[in-house]
């Protein structure tokens, strides 16, 4: 009996807190975010990244981090500090990446993680958005004259052991009633070597990985990536649950980059676009309304991102697209109005 009274009282207090909380928001006060405050106090953002994945996050010859995941963290730093260099990149293995986020060691996990239900429910994370739509594909030799994965019946396929890749492969061939021979290797590197030496007809992994592996082959131009994508791998940054403002900052940093591309605002023309008469552009760049305030940021937060990091298309081309050696086709990552599925809610 006493226990239930106590529980009721606590529930009441909790409701009162919630009510007062929502009251604060209703009055339009700038929001408070513990993560943002911590980051501002520390003077830098802790960003967990992949220790080395070409195009996504990787240190260059001088040790500077480059990649689209890296750009996302730099965008958040630009929005907060007006300085894209105020990021501490913390390389994480696949094993300890989620622990690092849970313990508060990192503020953003931008480590080409696939957005799955289990990670948002069991692990207590929140994926903010998808910054790269990946999926498993196949690479074959050009001289095989195969144009579709559906023609791969009876083929031998090199794959890395113990990953979901193997499972997806089995599902795809079973669903299409095709026979195949799987040759599995402990590491991706060995699988590629075996494919290159001719032990298998095809090599399979995530499409972005296929392009990255292709440049390592002796004659990259003799190989082609088939158009079929047999699994969904939406990759994106994640944050801890329980800090909605921070979640919003990371989410809208990405959406601002996508919206900027859609509206034709880029690194080079951002300053001129401030004078634009288009209402969408004016709102995004903080000329009208006060969207930055509700994130606890300055009003030109999006302008800073675009000026210092660039829009989504620029980041894509520079790191993994035509401007890089990976030369990954934009594919489904094109904007929604250009035939892809990259779509950002509007800033208004």
């Amino acid at each position: 009996m006493r226990k239930s009274i106590l529980a009721n009282t606590m529930a009441g207090v909790f409701c009162a807190l919630l009510a007062s909380g929502s009251g604060v928001f209703a009055q339009g006060q700038p929001a408070k975010s513990p993560t943002l405050e911590k980051v501002q106090k520390a003077g830098a953002l802790n960003c967990g990244v992949n220790p080395g994945l070409a195009g996504f996050s990787m240190p260059d010859d001088k040790g500077l981090w480059l990649g689209i995941d890296v750009d996302l963290c730099r965008a958040v730093a630009s929005a907060i500090f007006n300085d894209p260099t105020k990021v501490k990149f913390i390389p994480l293995t696949a094993k300890d990446r989620f622990t690092a986020l849970q313990t508060g060691e990192i503020d953003i996990l931008a480590r080409n993680g696939t957005w799955t239900m289990q990670r948002e429910t069991e692990l207590g994370l929140l994926f903010t958005a998808t910054n790269y739509y990946d999926g498993q594909g196949f690479m074959v030799r050009k001289k095989l004259n195969v144009t579709s994965a559906l023609e791969l019946s009876q083929a031998s396929i090199c794959v890395q052991q113990g990953t979901t890749t193997e499972l997806n492969l089995a599902d795809f061939f079973r669903a299409n009633n095709m026979k195949y021979e799987v040759i599995a290797f402990a590491t991706s590197n060995e699988a590629v070597k075996a494919y290159d030496s001719g032990r298998c007809d095809a090599f399979t992994t995530d499409a972005s990985g296929l392009y990255a592996e292709r440049v390592k082959l002796a004659n990259a131009n003799d190989h082609v990536v088939l158009p079929e994508i047999i699994s969904k791998e939406p990759l994106g940054p994640a944050v801890r649950q329980g800090d909605d403002i921070w979640f919003n900052i990371v989410k809208w940093a990405h959406f601002a980059m996508v919206n900027a591309e859609e509206l034709g605002v880029s690194k080079s023309n951002a300053d001129e676009q401030v004078k634009s008469t288009k209402p969408d552009v004016r709102r995004m760049l903080g000329v009208e309304n006060e969207f930055g305030k509700f994130l606890g940021l300055s009003n030109d937060w999006a302008l800073r991102i675009i000026k210092q990091v660039g829009n989504y298309g620029e980041s894509f081309e520079r790191n993994i697209g035509s401007g890089s050696r990976l030369r990954i086709d934009r594919g489904v990552n094109k904007l929604w109005n250009k035939g892809g599925i990259m779509y950002a809610p509007p800033i208004r």
Binding site: A54, P59, D61, G63, I90, D96, G104, L217, A220
Partner: protein
């Protein structure tokens, strides 16, 4: 009798009618041929082994030399030349990535600080370890006291002494002044009595440093966080910290384990057996991911400091067992004799037991050092860009990535690790010879 005297008196002359048959020339015992015969072909079994060995070398060396030197690509803009089927080792890639292998992400305009620290460390190390050098004690003292403090200040750019201690609150200031005066008094007394000058210098340095803290900050060296440290520099740092801390800590633990005091003995045994029963990877992962779960965020140590502590602790317990082996080899009579002379426990340990014990276990100690040096590569699993990890990441760069790149990178790493491990091994053998020169066995 007469016969005998007759025979002795008459000289018996013997003239050989013919020349003695010519004997074969004596087998030479020196020279190249002799060496070859004695060392390579002393018997049928050895001869077969030698021939097999030569064939193996013949089988291995020409293709290796072809790969490493003849077909090697020495300079190139990008990996295209190295991807060619007939290309050998891609040294151009190592040249291009060398600064990354060396310094990791340390800002390039600040690397003079790393170079300065490494060179100073190298000079001090050689000076300290050179058997006949003058002032070795001074070099050692500098290496273990002033050098780490200065290195910390130079590498990070932050004050190597907590500046906050100086003028924070009035009470703090008073305590601070009292402490400084007391330390100063102790140091001067020690200096005056000419005892333990090393300690006096250390305490003087400590006092001086507290004053220099704010001066250091006024130099305005840009701060370089440890998240930017990497490459050979970090590998050497981890190895040095591990080596420097593991020996004294190991000696303390070994003495603790043999101590008469039950609590001390129990604690030492617990620590040794616990840490020794766990793989280094587990220690590192524990230090890196579990530690932050138990302590408040602001308390959790720096990401580089955690593996440093882990590695030092881990190697210390192994060292403790090595040292304990040495302590057991010292005969009981040595203790008893020393005690009969009226020496205290610390004098017995310091002057009689340890010098004998440590010399006996030099091979074991160096073995531990070499193992530790190679184990430093494991810090990569907690996200530290040590040398091997830098090589491992560099080979993924799409500008260079190719089949020969990985091989070249790993060969380069192998050469680096070999030079250091072989050097340590040779140095220890030299020390063993010197120390055993005056001993009968």
């Amino acid at each position: 009798m007469t016969e005998m005297s007759a025979s002795s008196s008459t000289p018996q002359t013997f003239v050989r009618p013919a020349m003695t048959p010519e004997r074969a020339a004596p087998v030479p015992t020196s020279g190249a041929l002799a060496w070859i015969r004695d060392n390579l072909f002393p018997g049928p079994a050895s001869s077969v082994a030698t021939i097999l060995g030569l064939l193996l070398l013949l089988w291995v060396i020409p293709p290796l030399a072809k790969f490493l030197f003849i077909d090697a690509v020495w300079s190139a803009e990008n990996g295209d030349a190295c991807r060619a089927q007939e290309a050998g080792a891609c040294w151009a890639y190592v040249r291009q990535k060398f600064s990354f292998f060396m310094y990791g992400s340390y800002p390039r305009e600040e690397v003079w600080r790393v170079n300065l620290t490494l060179i100073a460390g190298a000079i001090l190390t050689v000076w300290m370890l050179w058997p006949d050098a003058r002032g070795r004690g001074g070099a050692a003292l500098a290496f273990f006291t002033v050098y780490p403090v200065l290195a910390f200040g130079i590498l990070t750019g932050s004050a190597p002494f907590p500046v906050g201690w100086l003028p924070s609150s009035p009470e703090g200031q008073i305590i601070w002044i009292v402490l400084v005066v007391a330390l100063f008094a102790i140091a001067s007394t020690l200096f005056y009595l000419n005892r333990n000058i090393g300690w006096a210098i250390a305490i003087f340095g400590f006092i001086a440093w507290s004053e220099l803290g704010s001066w250091w900050l006024s130099l305005g060296l840009p701060l370089v966080g440890t998240h930017l440290w990497g490459g050979i520099f970090v590998s050497l740092l981890v190895a040095t910290v591990g080596i420097v801390f593991s020996l004294p800590l190991g000696i303390v633990l070994a003495l603790g384990r043999r101590s008469q005091m039950p609590v001390l003995r129990f604690l030492s045994v617990m620590l040794i057996e616990f840490v020794r029963g766990v793989p280094l990877i587990t220690v590192l992962v524990m230090a890196n991911t579990m530690l932050p779960l138990f302590v408040p965020e602001s308390w959790s140590p720096d990401r580089l400091l955690r593996p440093l502590i882990g590695v030092a602790l881990f190697s210390a317990v192994y060292m403790a067992e090595v040292v304990r082996g040495g302590l057991q080899s010292v005969p009981k009579g040595q203790y008893e004799g020393a005690m009969a002379l009226g020496l205290s426990w610390s004098q017995v340990t310091r002057l009689v037991v340890l010098p004998q014990a440590l010399v006996t276990v030099i091979p074991g100690i160096v073995n531990s050092f070499i193992a530790l040096f190679k184990d430093t590569t494991l810090v990569a699993i907690v996200g530290i860009f040590d040398f091997l990890k830098a090589v491992d990441t560099g080979r993924l760069d799409p500008v260079w990535a190719g089949p020969k790149i990985s091989t070249t990178g790993y060969i380069f790493a192998a050469i680096f690790y070999f030079i250091f491990c072989f050097g340590m091994s040779r140095y220890s053998m030299m020390m063993e010879r010197r120390h055993s020169a005056g001993r009968s066995h």
